[in-house]
Amino acid sequence: MALTTPTAYRSPGLWRRLRSGNLTEAQLGIILLIPAAAVLLLVMFWPIVQVLWQSLHFERLNLPARGRPFIGLEHFQRMLWGTEMAWSPQHLLGWRLLAFAAVGGLWWGTGRGTVRRRTAVIWTVVALLVAGLWMGFHPGEAGRWGDARFWNAFSITLLVTVASVAGSFLVGLPLALLANVESRWRWLVRIALLIPWAMPRVLVGIMFAWLFNSTNGVINDVLRRLGVEGPLWLARADPAIWATNITIVWATSAFVGLILLAGLQSIDESLYEAAMVDGASPWQRFWQITLPLLRPSIAVALIFRTLTAIQTYDIPYAMTRGGPGRTLETLGIYVANTTNSLNLGYAAALSVALFTMSLAVTVLYLRWIYADD
């Protein structure tokens, strides 16, 4: 007697489902995400792991005989503290005592219940790190604060970030308000907002270098007609940094304007009508309705702008090659120049510094995204 084995119901395997096209949504989703995940892992995440690892190695392609030995944190020591740094308990002792007093005050406040415990713990850790690691180190005999070129690049990057983010917001907001007005010329306004966004940043830099040309440039010509003698914009560091910032603001304020414009268009028109009925002046409407409701867009615009400002490279490079000399070198230009001189180990360490700065801003962004959920 033939026994027919009872076949239990088996859900069809993944391969069969794939061939027949009957996948569950999650399965299909995972399959569709594979190419994107592969690209991001191979070309974004893996290189970042590599750059972290590379920064702990010595490697100069022009000194192939030296190979690629592991040197630990030496690059970072050279970058931040310098090789001449020494630890001394007296160094900046007053500030350190002050910091410890402040921390003591925090804990006293915790005991009285006016300060949260978590706050006190966090600030204690911060104070210990700063006071211990940073303030105790001081430059030795011939020493200085690490790689002077790095600190210069770092401060130029900070200056450009602060000045150009603020500038592009202050220019971008009026641009958005104007672009939001209904008119026949709206297409022209759109084009005028898109051109600065779409131009390659290097070409913007070259273009403005011509506009800022001290003898034949149009800016100094207009100033001359107004009876002012314009400076030699790009020959000295002081006017050059402002010429650079103005150029960056021109190139980026349009993008800020576009994001704010999207925010403006999502504001409910009836709010304005209600405010008009209540007799609010345009000024009041702007401060009481527009600005508060625009806050999410403003935050997005500022965060994205800050991230791009940290990487500033093209415009200063095109305008002055980071010069005169190396005075206006941003961190980005320093990374690229170090790569060009084939010192890949130190370039990796500088990239890590750059990455850390943008990671800090990214963390702010993520905290803000998840804040009001």
């Binding site: 996948l23 991001l40 009026p174 010329w185 051109i195 070409l203 993520l366």
Partner: protein, 305 residues
């Protein structure tokens, strides 16, 4: 806004709008005017605003001094290939994240957005090393095989492994750099397509994959165009990686090539401005045709989430 304005406000708006348009277009217009002037006219003081004797010889000079046609071709090949590859990958990912019930959807999307915040400059050193001593699994053998078949992406007789000075050295990072923003744009477009459309197809006996290709794909064409334009512009404009990865003259892209006209101390402004004018023509054409789509895409990328 359809609110009424007083006469003062109206004048202010008109003046403001005029300033806005002037601000946005003046530098480019000035470049075009400069490109029509003679080299001697440029050093005249006081400067001339409109060209006195318009000439086109700067444009001839652009192509004679350096292989600018080659730069354009390189940029076009790199930008178009990156765009096609990136749109394909991003469309698949966008569909998964925008339409399907997936676990951790929100977290995945946030992860992708976070990736877009990585500075491209950080990729410079690792990718340079990777491409230099290039032995990428799968890719190197593939490039060698294509070379043997006659598709020579390498400038020299080198079959492999050095990817520097090839189109790949730019296409690979450009796809990765534009992927996050493209995915974000396409995700938000897919979310807008009504679900009924798809369920109707499913009821009619389509499988999910068939529904994707027969129903969703045609409807999502506008989103794809938007994403494609933004990827194209990003890839056309990229400078740092192109500057450092492709250093032979025949492999330069447009933005890098234009910086090559200036010597150590000499700035042939007439030639440079003509080169800039030619180099941004594709971008200006895209803006003129697709202005609304580009704005929709840019703002989709900027919206929270």
């Amino acid at each position: 806004m359809r609110r009424r304005h007083g006469p003062f406000a109206r004048v202010a708006v008109v003046v403001g709008t005029a300033l806005l348009v002037l601000n946005g277009t003046f530098p480019l217009v000035w470049m075009m005017l400069t490109s029509l002037k003679d080299e001697n006219e440029l050093i005249r003081i006081p400067i001339t605003y409109l060209p006195v004797e318009p000439t086109l010889k700067n444009y001839v000079q652009v192509f004679q001094q350096l292989p600018f046609d080659r730069f354009m071709l390189n940029s076009a090949i790199v930008a178009v290939t990156s765009t096609v590859v990136c749109v394909l990958i991003a469309a698949l990912a966008g569909y998964a994240l925008g339409r399907l019930n997936m676990p951790y959807r929100r977290a995945l999307l946030t992860l992708i957005v976070t990736t877009s915040m990585f500075p491209a400059l950080v990729l410079l050193v690792p990718l340079y090393r990777m491409f230099l001593g290039m032995d990428v699994p799968l890719l190197s053998p593939l490039v060698a095989a294509l070379h043997d078949l006659g598709m020579r992406f390498m400038p020299t007789e080198v079959r492999t492994p050095n990817l520097l000075n090839t189109y790949w050295a730019l296409i690979i990072p450009y796809v990765a750099l534009s992927l996050p923003i493209a995915t974000l744009i396409l995700t938000s477009f897919f979310q807008l397509i009504p679900r009924d459309l798809e369920s109707a197809a499913l009821v009619d006996g389509c499988t999910r994959v068939q529904a994707l290709f027969r129903v969703i794909a045609p409807v999502s064409a506008p989103g794809v165009v938007t994403a494609a334009i933004i990827i194209f512009v990003n890839s056309w404009n990229e400078f740092v990686l192109a500057m450092n990865f492709n250093t032979t003259m025949s492999m330069r892209t447009v933005p890098v090539g234009i910086t090559m006209y200036q010597g150590e101390f000499a700035f042939p402004w007439a030639t440079i401005s003509a080169a800039i004018t030619v180099g941004v023509l594709p971008l200006v054409a895209l803006i003129l045709v697709f202005q609304q789509k580009i704005i929709a895409g840019l703002t989709a990328g900027g919206v929270k989430g």
